[in-house]
Subunit: 592 residues, 2 copies
Amino acid sequence: MHNVELLAVARGEQPADLVLRNGRLVNVLSGDIEVTDVALYGGRIAGVGAGYAAIEEVDLQGAFIAPGLIDAHVHIESSLCLPAQFAAAVVPRGVTTVAADPHEIANVAGWGGGPRAAADPQKIASGAGVAGVRYMAECSRNLPLQVVLMAPSAVPATHMETSGAALSAEDLADLLEEGTVHGLAELMNFPGTVQGDPEVLAKIAAFSGRPRDGHAPALSGQLLNAYAAAGAGSDHECATVAEAAEKLARGFYVLIREATNARNLRPLLPLVNERNNRRICFCTDDRMPGDLLTQGSIDYIVREAISFGIEPVTAFRMATLNSAEWFGLHDRGAVAPGRRADLMVFEDLRAPSATHVYAGGRLWAEGGRLLNEKSLAQASVPAAVSSSVRVAWDGFDLRIPATGAHVRVIGSVENQVLTEERILKARIEDGQAVADPTRDILKMAVVDRHTASGSTGLGFIQGFGLRRGAIAGTIAHDHHNLIVIGVDDESMTTAARTVAEMGGGLAISDGSESLAALPLPVAGLMSDRPLGVIRSDYDALLDAAHEFGSTIYDPFMAMSFMALEVIPKLKLTDQGLVDVEAFSFVDLFIEE
Amino acid sequence: MHNVELLAVARGEQPADLVLRNGRLVNVLSGDIEVTDVALYGGRIAGVGAGYAAIEEVDLQGAFIAPGLIDAHVHIESSLCLPAQFAAAVVPRGVTTVAADPHEIANVAGWGGGPRAAADPQKIASGAGVAGVRYMAECSRNLPLQVVLMAPSAVPATHMETSGAALSAEDLADLLEEGTVHGLAELMNFPGTVQGDPEVLAKIAAFSGRPRDGHAPALSGQLLNAYAAAGAGSDHECATVAEAAEKLARGFYVLIREATNARNLRPLLPLVNERNNRRICFCTDDRMPGDLLTQGSIDYIVREAISFGIEPVTAFRMATLNSAEWFGLHDRGAVAPGRRADLMVFEDLRAPSATHVYAGGRLWAEGGRLLNEKSLAQASVPAAVSSSVRVAWDGFDLRIPATGAHVRVIGSVENQVLTEERILKARIEDGQAVADPTRDILKMAVVDRHTASGSTGLGFIQGFGLRRGAIAGTIAHDHHNLIVIGVDDESMTTAARTVAEMGGGLAISDGSESLAALPLPVAGLMSDRPLGVIRSDYDALLDAAHEFGSTIYDPFMAMSFMALEVIPKLKLTDQGLVDVEAFSFVDLFIEE
């Protein structure tokens, strides 16, 4: 019995696999820095303290040892890479566990692959969405990174879209039962939660006794009370200290998020004090390849927190023990006997940067680079995720016959996923409403790419700044249909076809010419290549878009939120223009 | 669906059952005192904050509201009363949850009742001990006190005793499976744990993912590492700051104990600081009726901690949230929406004493007195626990034929459960070794009361100070056989018979006369009467013992540890004199 040997090592009667000597242990349990040795055996911590013999010994010469960092909430898909490549990027930085919500792939990968004849959302059998979740679980096995999957709680987001999947409470319960997921991922349908929607409550009930993450931007007062009473236990959407303080006081763990597109760290750090930090964690939510590679992951947040003035041991606690406690992962989050030997070794307590990272007792990274990268076995890519783009090209038509003089234009605001509704005079040519780049009014299309139904939503958008060409992609939260924004129909069609031919991805085109493209063949969301390669392709896309006049830092990311019909005010899905506040479709043309 | 209504109340759309207005909330989540209202519905907190209407309203006029207190480790049996009477004693003080280890009754109540013909410990079928645990669960239903039962992990303590029960790993797993227990109670067999005893490891494994309490006095260094690695997660045996600090650093929750017979609070309070208090809790372990009635329970510890200088919110955290987190009882431990409405209302933050106590949303106590005491339904007492004293009186003989001039005498030391081995000259009369009160050498007997086997251990003890008479009882840790200490055989026999005739209890006698007695008919451990009555009887016993010359503050409690063969040095069981360090029987007489 393995445990018997671990105990013998702990007692000092049998040599450890490895002893790290002369370390300065960041003891998140006691709150102190402790000069000591750490003995590892069978992937776990056997003992802390002097007197351990081992097969291998490393003299740390006073370097610091912290528990492996935990990302309390992340969508790996947002990094555009598969779990193995994600691990290769974050493990060398000291991140050894992530609570991952495979929400994006779950929305896409429900069909089981193969073309489908007709689009009938009613036919999306309950349970169709589990393929994507199971695939992410499969991809996450045997990595140095522990990927703790949370069950996506809001698939699809609404019924005003053609979705690739639907996950019922029973489906989620099955995923829990089979051990694929650990808890319930962010309850994004917070209005439904608060109002006691039976299907949402059923999902919550299915995860009784399990961590159930919340997601409730700006929710406050009695509605926040209801959200807590319903069972949501955390929130990563806080934007202000006041909001976060209220949520803490009502029982939520506050997961401070520093994503690429939502940077809450600096605004929220003043919240942290000695009395409340035990219920505050760190998360990245969505980080683009560039940010992951340049800034980092949770390690970056820890450095920022320390540089802000948070006591280093406290910063590490928020990045380790607190998250472990929120998720009930009591086998990690601290360096103590019996826990997983996930360790981050570093030199500078004021700016921790991993020199060596141990995961499950094994040295997996050194000097910021993963060792044995080739040993990361990649799961095969099943049809459910490899053939996810199914567009009805017959009858594909982006023309908008003018039926009025004014149109509802989506007003995109930089660095916001909220949009405005702008009533503007349409530019009409030959009886068709067309883009007007002189007023930065571009045409936008959202095309069903799940069921090849031909369902296509058409409209106009302001704020992207393209003077020519078009951008397209299969990343369009949450349904991830094919989304296109451009100046003319030919460029838009080229970009859309380029994306589809790659099996999903991002592209930019000019007329009939494809200028740059990033293939994302896994569910149209992820690449199977290394993060550095993805980043290069991505940079080429951004360069081309900026060359064409876009003033947005990342127009592809901005585009990906323009079809998300749960965030106000005006959004476009493949089924039409949605007034989010009214929760209903509206006409493109204004009745006059 | 009940939850739907709770949410409607939380949203302010339906009146609450009760609103407590103008309270000062001890918010253990944020660490702050918050002036606010608290709305209750269906036994739970619906909302915190202004604006709630309710069927009933109470103006607290600035009184404090804290979460109901949690006792992190208690043996209810030590209070000599049943759970209902225990609840009547502690709920008015603000204690609304206890993690109870029914270890004492589990050791006794295994037979299922009725006399047994022969004593064959081998015949104690595995599982025989579950009757007592189930009975405690039955007794604990529908009380204002939430009794969270932990599975006794060391029944019997050793095989050098005749036990009333035996609990295997499978038995404990069954108790968990059926929902009778929540976790694994104190792993008292810490040597076996550390050494990897397969049966102990099997018990630990059966409670994977569950709280597993430790018990490891003075364990340190590598052996402590092994104890942690094995899975023990808490310890309530710390006696010094250094010991507690080491245990905290190795991952143990430290449960600071203030029992009647082990007062660790003042010595350990200097340990507490802002960095480490999150993993420190409070417990009472064993409190006699007098201490419960005079000092109190966890409320007493909170007051003592505050008077020592611990910040009040921190003291409450240790008495509420921390214990809830250790046990994974996330539905309590704080006043927040969705949690149990267990509340302690009090006036003075520097010396909190409950004026009103709500349990499960209902006002259960006011001014220190339980309301509706008669509503506490008492479970029927099954034969397994009501007929637990079975002594073979035929052949009952306390004489000790002298086979040498010197004897091993148990040296009792006041306020210690440890004893010494003292080699003393025997007083011999008519060929029999007898007590010698002039040297405070008394005779001691331990008689099998479980199987009526006649098994009787005889010896001598020093330190009790009786000049005449005898004391007897059926409380004798952990086997709880019939134990007698006295000056002469007649007094001893009278006391023993008095106890047996009551179906268990405590008694003091002089010659053929019984002077005072406390019946404990439930398993020979507990009374079914109120705590005040028990205390009166108990005081009469103590008075009589002191009148007879005993210099010990509580000779009955002291006696109860003299047969506990796992605590050094010399102890007596019904099977003979045990040298605990040698873990074997030794002869009473010294070979010369």
